[in-house]
Symmetry: C3
């Protein structure tokens, strides 16, 4: 892939300062970019790196442009420009728009136009794949699943019966959508399974990471709203509701029937317990445990800071004595008076 | 699916108060249920919702019945009744009891009666599938695996050579049973692999969630006892023993050679380190780390509560000074006397 | 599998004390081993178990030999000897060195000699599989992937386009290599995807556990250096660099663009945030959060110790008051003077 700097600036409708005939073959960070690559100044804090960058050209904000001696494209939002330019250079293979002869497609499944089904994929009965849907090799799509226009499932995704997936949604390999929620009732001897008879309803413009699991509901559908982004190895329990445009980082888990609001940012490895509500625009830092509902937007954390092993060992002893510490301070205060 | 209220009550042998001819088409929670759905009052604490429920009928305890003006079924354990009624309305497709022509089944594998093998599944040599076993599409069952009567593997499950699976066990998609345990020995230059030559032995009535991984043993089999329930994305190390009827929630991990007792409840995201023992009837709350053996039944936790970001930052500074705090208190106490 | 004790000692070039004709059929731990099994004394601390061991023979250090009345092999490193003997008794099926007729192999893929491709595997265009590579059943290998001599992919592994894998690397089932990193930019309404146009570069002698996910990079390749060992369900973000011979235990996650040094030991369930650096020879204990760069080798921890539920509840109240506790101590100190 090769584009001239002029072609790039023109297609983005952005101002170019410098020779439009320079050939660009790819992108890299400001420190790594070579003489045929475009780079980006995402923050004025990194202006110092401009002078040593070997990049052919840079995308910068207007206020940083005067410090840039290389050819540059001026953008109000360099990170959004990055997203657009990266799409031009993406080496991802295009779908081949055919149903592979080794795929097992039920005669009762319906495929819209320009649908791709990869090798050895399995499409069960009554599935509906809309225009432009891509099903990767090795995927298994259960009975009655519907997948909206333009959605893409990478290789080896599993979707259980009855799941609904919206438009322009991307699901990565190893993800499992619609397995049974974890519901049992103790009958005095053992754990009796509660059949998980509802399903999963995924909106438009959702992205679901590799190895992520989203369980079907027991008393209502599990809902992933439009624009939600789930990283790899996220676990969503049965009956959970995730509000629009919320992003959840890798290895986080949301307990059953919990409702998470819109525009939340959930860090990696976070646990949110079952049956609570987290309001809109809440940010949770990595590895925190949310054990109660959060009613006010803002940033929340749990856990302790990282410490060298020997200091940590003494601190965890102190932690177990915190109630005693409070009592001893109260005693001291009462003895020496106010 | 449609059943009359009378048919439901009769099949469960429970008392019905109200018109037995009412048609029921499904289940929902007390607040969500519509006029053709059955609902449940799981706890007297929710009696307040009875009067506004639009449910066609409810399942209630005898002591709540007088507050219920709708038709109702009286049950001593509404949650167990829920499990039974949900099974009546479960839309899960039935297995088709045939070996799919695209499956690759070794001539030395043996299949009992009424076995289902899905499209593109792979059954290696010397596998034994007992009566009624269901192998989903895309599963790979390694050499010499045995699977007991009535067990079901959803699509895209992987089982390594030599694993034993009992009766009526359910394994969800993406689970991997019998991969190598994590065992290496440093030889002064790098990490030398210790071959994991034992296997995994899974009992009867076990459920294993989507994406869960159970490693094979190095010096003995990894054992999952009868009635154990593992949620999604659980990790079980090599040589672990899990006692009967223990339930482990999503994203928890059990380190190698650790023994967990029977009837334990392990929350989500819990870590239990290797080479320890947790006795029977232990409850661990979500995201806790168990770093030593637990010898007494009861409930245990680690971690800190969730705090707003600014308070949390000050608290983690205090945490790192807990040893100093204890010393300063001791000094104060000695100065002002006992 | 049966070997005489003499054959084992001879092949390892180690000294045997006892009858070389004793037949050995397998290995087990010192307490579990039966009269036809070999066992190991890994540490002098377990000498006490020697006298009750029913093992046919033991591998011991010279300094423990006098306490061993059974036949024994003398080794300077019994754990390394264990690794070697286990390899002799490993029942793992050998690859069959053929391309299975049900595999879908692109005509533009190239396979070296003695390559195995399992049933229903999919090999896309321009893939290169070197001498002795094994691709398990159900694997999907994307366009342009290269896999070096002797590397083995177990069943149902997914590798995206353009990924490079070195020699003698082992990847377990359910692993996903090269899915998109988690990169989005908020444009005022929703989250715009940043295409992840770089790839993943995995070295030689690497092991990758079941269900582990390694994302492709956005501005540079994600790099897994030679000799790295990743346990199950590990998550590696885009653009991460892992140094040689580092081992990462199950369910840990490394945030995007973070660099982890060589010879590190990362415990289970650890989170390392994005855009930081961890130097060589750092050890992190299980379930710790690393939220800042670590510049000095050593052992680090975060979190609190496990406590019985009632004590824990009082301690987390104290934790939220740690800033207040410090202030009250300061006040007491100033009131009673130095």
């Amino acid at each position: 892939m090769k584009l001239t700097l002029g072609e790039i600036a023109h297609s983005l409708n952005l101002e170019l300062k410098g020779d439009p005939s320079i050939l660009i073959t790819g992108l890299a960070s400001i420190n790594d970019a070579g003489p045929d690559q475009l780079s980006f100044l995402f923050s004025s804090a990194y202006q110092i790196h401009l002078k040593d960058s070997a990049a052919a050209a840079l995308v910068v904000r207007a206020e940083d442009a005067e410090h840039c001696t290389q050819p540059h494209i001026i953008s109000k939002q360099p990170r959004l420009t990055w997203a657009q330019v990266a799409a031009m250079f993406d080496p991802k293979p295009l779908p081949n728009l055919k149903l592979h002869e080794s795929a097992d497609i039920s005669p009762t499944a319906s495929c819209g136009s320009e649908v791709t089904v990869g090798a050895n994929a399995v499409i069960e009965s009554a599935v509906r794949l809309d225009h432009g849907v891509v099903i990767g090799p090795g995927c298994v799509i259960g009975e009655g699943v519907t997948i909206g226009e333009g959605s893409v499932l990478s290789a080896n995704v599993t979707v259980y019966h009855g799941v609904k997936i919206g438009k322009n949604t991307l699901i990565h390999s190893g993800a499992v959508i619609g397995a049974d929620g974890f519901g049992f009732e103790f009958d005095g001897r053992g754990l009796v399974k509660i059949p998980q008879i509802y399903s999963v309803d995924i909106g438009d413009d959702v992205e679901i990471g590799a190895g992520t699991t989203i369980d079907r509901g027991a008393l209502k559908d599990t809902v992933i709203s439009n624009g939600v982004k789930l990283d790899n190895q996220v676990q969503i329990g049965h009956g959970v509701f995730i509000g629009a445009n919320t992003a959840i980082s890798g290895c986080s888990a949301i307990g059953g029937s919990t409702k998470v609001g819109s525009y939340c940012l959930i860090g990696g490895g976070v646990g949110i317990v079952d049956n609570i509500e987290v309001t809109d625009q809440v940010e949770i830092t990595a590895l925190s445990l949310v054990s109660q509902s959060i009613k006010q937007k803002g940033r929340y954390s749990s856990g302790t800071g990282l410490l060298p092993g020997n200091i940590w060992k003494r601190s965890i002893v102190g932690f177990s004595k915190l109630n005693e510490i409070l009592q001893r301070i109260r005693k001291l205060e009462s003895r020496i008076g106010k």
